[in-house]
Amino acid sequence: MREITLSQAVNEALAEEMRRDETVFIIGEDVAEAGTPFKVLSGLVEEFGTARVVDTPIAEPGFMGIAVGAAMTGSRPVVDLMFGDFIFLIMDQLCNQAAKTHYMSGGKLSVPLVLRTNLGATRRSAAQHSQSLHALVAHIPGLKVALPSSAYEAKGLMKTAIRDNNPVVIFEDKLMYQEKAGVPDEEYLIPFGVANVKREGTDITLIATSSMVQVAEKAAEILAAEGISAEVIDPRTIVPLDEAALIKSVKKTSRAIVIDEGHQSYGVTSEIASRLNEKAFYHLDAPVLRMGAMDVPVPFSPALEDLTVPTPEGVAANARKLVAGEMLDGEMIHAA
């Protein structure tokens, strides 16, 4: 299979859907000639013109609101939000308007809209350009949330998102834009709510999202060398969440660690761990552990920033303890 970057995968998904459906348009800052600062959209304005690849002023609440209204009236906007951190600026339009319109109108109006943004630290961009804020969005009913973990997922989930009749938020890992993965030439879609078992295993389940999937896979390698068999699962969408697949795995392995790059407290790992505890309690041999980013604003200094995000070594260390039955109440190795 040919290999393309995550950037190219997103670009292809958009181009294919824009060709298929002329109501699809892209709106955001420097999306046209510049093709975004990450160059993800390069070439699209040349094919689709400035009427469908729309450069905006720096007014995130404004163009998000415009997208909501456009979606309600027959268009399918793909909003480009340059950094995930800017989601704080558009929360009202996203959560009070887009998420609730279908329900508040008794099903009469709908908002088929995609919000493309990103997550991920360790780019030395400091506290306002490094956050992973998907937990906030996942808390609001009416929104769907996709977290692609490779170019393959990025393309398939984006195409599904564009065809979905609801507001969908896709967080891409900004450190992964130049990473390649096998992506078929033929068209494919990845359904929402279907987790992906990245690696099978029997001793412990590592549930990991987005940027943390590779961390979990590396941890699984480390563990394999020690004779510990780790299963790695990527939920791919956290709303809807493929609870059944996660529970099934944990019932098999009896142990789990949930790994996600959002802040740990009141975050994604809490929800997933809670569901496992509720629904696989009697199968668990040890507490479900959570490993999120530290509960600190992301520091600029490389010496500090790298400490805030879970690492393969940290995951392996916790897994080792869990499997050995050495994890007592309250003991836990943090992220680093």
């Binding site: 404004g62 209204g69 456009a70 979606a71």
Partner: protein, 335 residues
């Protein structure tokens, strides 16, 4: 870009015929009657929650919506019953919505603050002040993108002009020549505060600074409002939008139905003056009779008929069924 100007009804009447006039009158009376019933439902504790009365402002919604087609869009506000009626909604579904019944326009899930007859191009009342400004601008964006000549009117209050979102979307509407009319219903108050205390400078001047042509119009004069809107809508259809209208008007009731003792922020005399001397329905009735378009008796008969309609709709709604419990998690996601 012109400076603000005030239009009056004289310029307008020529091209309207008696039928149009009587429909406008009817729509204004329907709004007033709807609100009187809604207020009564609140006072008699039959309505859940609170609601905001449009009484006094009827000429704004009617004058504007009568200049629109069904496929034209509007966005509405927390004070949204008037816009809803004016864009073509029926009493029965509206009262059902106000009472949280299944047959309401939103199946009872929206209530007063989210009411809308969606099939007539009403994109919804909105409980976030200023919250619909992006939505309205987006509807205009769709029209342009898909090559339709539909126009969108964004209704909002003087208080909403304080929200930054307005300036963000006006900038884009101006840059992209979107077919939208921003209609500021300046009723002199936002909640319990006078407009002068919350708005520095000039409201129309703010639109003009973005290169948007802005007009001030007497919001109690339905023909003036209608005539100006017709012109601006026509120009929007030709790609000359966006436009901004400031409509000078007044709400008769408190901010919401529960806002009874309000002398600390506005005087009874002021209220009396507007009701007695600037009522949009009385003024228009006078015009209709003096021009020989209708007799007083005809107008009274129309009022009585509307009143009876409303009473019947209220009775229907009071007896109508609530949505089934199974509806609670329906419509969170569209299929």
């Amino acid at each position: 870009m012109s400076t603000s100007k005030t239009k009056n009804s004289a310029q307008a009447s020529a091209k309207h015929n008696a039928e149009d006039f009587l429909r406008m009158y009817r729509q204004m009376v329907r709004i007033r009657t709807f609100e009187d019933n809604a207020n009564q439902l609140y006072l008699s504790a039959k309505m859940p929650g609170l609601t905001h009365m449009y009484s006094g402002e009827e000429a704004v919604a009617v004058g504007i919506c009568e200049a629109l087609r069904v496929t034209d869009k509007i966005t509405s506000t927390h004070r949204g019953h008037g816009h809803c009626v004016a864009k073509g909604a029926e009493f029965k579904e509206m009262f059902c919505e106000l009472l949280g019944k299944e047959e309401g326009y939103c199946r009872g899930k929206g209530g007063s603050m989210h009411i809308a007859d969606q099939s007539n191009g009403n994109l919804g009342a909105n409980a976030i002040v200023g919250g619909s400004m992006g939505i309205a601008t987006g509807a205009a964006f769709t029209a342009k993108l898909l090559g339709k000549d539909d126009v969108t009117v964004c209704f909002f209050g003087d208080g909403a002009t304080a929200q930054g979102l307005m300036y963000e979307v006006m900038n884009m509407a101006a840059l992209w020549n979107l077919p939208i009319i921003y209609a500021c219903e300046n009723n002199g108050y936002s909640e319990y505060t006078k407009t002068a205390e919350i708005a520095a400078g000039s409201i129309t001047g703010r639109a003009e600074a973005f290169g948007i042509e802005a007009h001030t119009v007497d919001g109690q004069d339905v023909l003036a409002v209608n005539s100006l809107t017709e012109q601006l809508v026509e120009r929007c259809r030709k790609g000359e939008g966006p436009f901004f209208m400031e409509l000078m008007t007044y709400r008769y009731h408190g901010h919401h139905v529960g806002d009874i003792n309000r002398e600390y922020y506005r005087s009874k005399d002021e209220e009396k003056d507007w009701r007695e001397n600037k009522d949009p329905i009385t003024q228009f009735a006078r015009h209709l009779t003096s021009e020989g378009i209708a007799t007083e008796e005809e107008l009274e008969a129309m009022q009585a008929e509307i009143k009876a309609d409303a009473t019947a709709a209220v009775e229907y709604a009071l007896k109508a069924k609530y949505p089934d419990a199974s509806e609670v998690d329906m419509h969170v996601y569209a299929a």
